[in-house]
């Protein structure tokens, strides 16, 4: 377990303070915060690369606050990957092993094994400058994982990637975490990333930890405007997926069964955009597979659009235009039907 106790770090313009976190061994932990919130510095402070004013960092019962970075067994991957430009991919991955003076044969074996796991075996001879962003990312991961750190710090690992690579890297990270079992602390400003990967999320706001919890919890009771803004833009559910009829999956989200398109089984998360939900007074006869009755529980006006929360339960946030809002004559307590396509749901 990693414990961060009352950490205080000077960022020049402001202070990062009262940082108290407990992260379980093997957990995928996300620190979420807006750009410029001091997320990178927090990681560097944990790794011993940035001076700490007050507080303590503990790993598995040993205090490491005053330990130099090379003795902490904490690995870091920066946003720009920071591969050594004067070394080949192989040289980059072997860097930590060569420092530890492993025998040559064993270095080669370990490098090959990790290269296989992250999928960079075909790149070993190349120089980092010739790799794509996704490839560099994988090499950076291999380089740190080969040293078998107890904790892996990821600094915005996905934000420099194009959307497609990003999605693939997300599942690579998830898969790696499952296979290697290392504790991961991943900082990001991207809520979707946090929801997709994090078992628990800490929200960093104004230099303090505003909230810690499972992604759904944080969405349900956002304590910062930053989270609240995101909470309005996504419906996120946790449920159990099983095979349904006619090729659709059936996801039980507690109370209702949603139809979705996915190959996944077991515990999954779903996200649904508010604008993909249709609200009507009567059940709609359409090809859309999901149609449920609920009660309007909250209404939030945002200029030309209105966010309407419909409780089945669970709560669904729906986005409609002001015009349809008025045509439907919606107010709190009114019974409505919501309809959305199975394909509108993103399962992960």
């Amino acid at each position: 377990m990693i414990a961060i106790k009352n950490l205080k770090v000077d960022l020049g313009d402001f202070l990062l303070q009262n940082i108290d976190l407990e992260i379980n061994s093997g957990e995928y932990f996300i620190i979420l915060g807006p750009t410029g919130a001091g997320k990178t510095v927090l990681l560097e402070a944990i790794a011993g690369l940035y001076p700490v004013l007050e507080g303590e960092v503990w790993i598995d019962g040993r205090e490491v606050t005053r330990l130099s970075p090379e003795k902490r067994r904490i690995g870091i991957v920066y946003q720009d990957y920071s591969l050594f430009p004067h070394l080949s991919v192989e040289g980059n991955i072997a860097f930590g092993l060569r420092l530890r003076k492993y025998p040559k044969a064993s270095i080669k074996e370990k490098v090959n094994a990790i290269a296989e796991i992250v999928g960079v075996t075909h790149l070993l001879e190349r120089k980092p400058q010739t790799l794509s962003g996704g490839e560099q990312q994988k090499v950076a991961l291999a380089r740190v994982l080969v040293t078998e750190p107890e904790v892996l710090l990821l600094d915005e690992p996905l934000s420099a990637l194009d959307p497609e690579t990003k999605e693939r890297m997300q599942s690579t990270l998830k898969e790696l975490h499952r296979r290697v079992g290392v504790t991961i602390i991943h900082v990001t400003h991207d809520f979707e990333e946090a929801v997709a990967l994090g078992e628990r999320v800490a929200v960093l706001n104004n230099g303090c930890i505003a909230q810690v919890g499972a992604p759904e919890e944080i969405l349900r009771q956002p304590s910062s405007e930053f989270v609240a803004h995101f909470a309005l833009s996504r419906n996120i559910f946790t449920g159990k997926a099983e095979e349904g009829e006619d090729g659709h999956a059936c996801v039980d989200v507690g109370g209702i069964k949603l139809r979705a398109i996915t190959e996944l089984k077991g515990k999954v998360r779903l996200s649904l955009r508010p604008e993909d939900i249709i609200i009507s007074k009567e059940p709609l006869h359409s090809t859309a597979r999901n149609c449920f009755e609920g009660v309007v529980s909250d209404i939030a006006h945002r200029g030309a659009v209105v966010y309407v929360t419909v409780n089945l339960p669970p709560d669904f946030i729906c986005l409609i235009t002001r015009q349809s809002f008025e045509e439907l004559g919606l107010r709190e307590g009114v019974k409505v039907w919501i309809t959305f396509k199975a394909s509108a749901m993103h399962v992960f």
Binding site: A47, L49, E70, Y78, S82, R143, P149
Partner: protein, 273 residues
């Protein structure tokens, strides 16, 4: 891919700038070229075999090399600190390092003598371990270090600045001590700047006249007495006139160019890769 060049009528400004450029280039190369081609190869060869000449050239190359090595050992760590750390008075310190470039070199020689002459401060300390700086190779070396070290420190500093601090940080988390991170990451990545700074330091040291003249005009060197090449050239001119000074000048120019160009070639080899 083929590039097609379309002939464009040059504008007035380009023509004037090219002409001005040609004038300054001629100004640099004409005297060098004229001096070198004025003697036949046979005369140059005989000049080179003159003991006074070759021992002078060897002394110059040797002393400038020692100066550069001392510069590397003492200057590179400082350059690293200046590139990495922020501290009060850093600007002032950086200005201080460049002072040897701006003061007259004969004045530098006198100032050095005040500290390293055997009756003063550091001179006395070194004297007890048998090193004297007055009219000795050691004197030539410290005169060269003094006037040329800024070139190495400045260049190495710029080199270290281009190395991303995060590379060093990553090295640390991968298990490298500060020393290892320096020798395996920072130094190899800044190597080109350090090397080209060393070439500049060596060249500047080898061409030093004023400070060496004051401190170590005539020194014992491997069983002979020798003067550094710049002093030899000046002496020959003063004693025998232009005609006698010319062959030795040509030799000095040629050797300087050969060493300088080959070192620069090494420094920039693979730059485009």
């Amino acid at each position: 891919m083929t590039k097609t060049h379309v002939w464009r009528k040059p504008d007035g400004m380009s023509i004037i700038f090219v002409l001005l450029g040609v004038i300054i280039l001629l100004f640099i190369f004409a005297p060098l070229l004229k001096t070198v081609v004025s003697s036949s190869p046979g005369v140059l060869w005989n000049t080179l075999l003159d003991e006074e000449v070759y021992s002078s050239i060897l002394l110059t190359i040797y002393a400038a090399m020692i100066a550069t090595l001392v510069g590397l050992f003492l200057g590179v760590p400082l350059a690293y600190l200046l590139a990495r750390r922020q501290f009060w008075g850093k600007r002032f310190l950086e200005g201080l390092i460049d002072i040897p470039i701006v003061i007259p070199h004969s004045a530098a020689g006198v100032a050095l003598l005040f500290v390293f002459g055997s009756n003063f401060l550091a001179g006395e300390v070194f004297h007890t371990i048998g090193i004297s700086f007055f009219n000795s190779v050691a004197g030539v070396v410290i005169a060269m270090i003094f006037v040329s070290i800024p070139f190495l420190i400045d260049s190495a500093k710029e080199g270290f600045k281009t190395v991303d601090v995060r590379l060093e940080k990553v090295a640390r988390t991968l298990g490298a001590s500060p020393w290892r991170s320096f020798f395996r990451v920072s130094l190899p990545l800044a190597w080109r700047s350090i090397f080209s700074g060393s070439v500049m330091m060596w060249a500047r040291g080898a061409s030093e006249f004023g400070a060496v003249l004051i401190l170590a005009y005539y020194v014992p060197f491997f069983g002979h007495y020798a003067r550094v090449a710049p002093i030899l050239v000046a002496d020959r001119f003063a004693s025998f006139g232009l005609e006698y000074a010319q062959p030795v000048t040509a030799i000095v120019i040629l050797i300087s160019l050969i060493v300088f160009i080959s070192l620069r070639t090494i420094a920039y080899r693979g730059e485009k890769a």
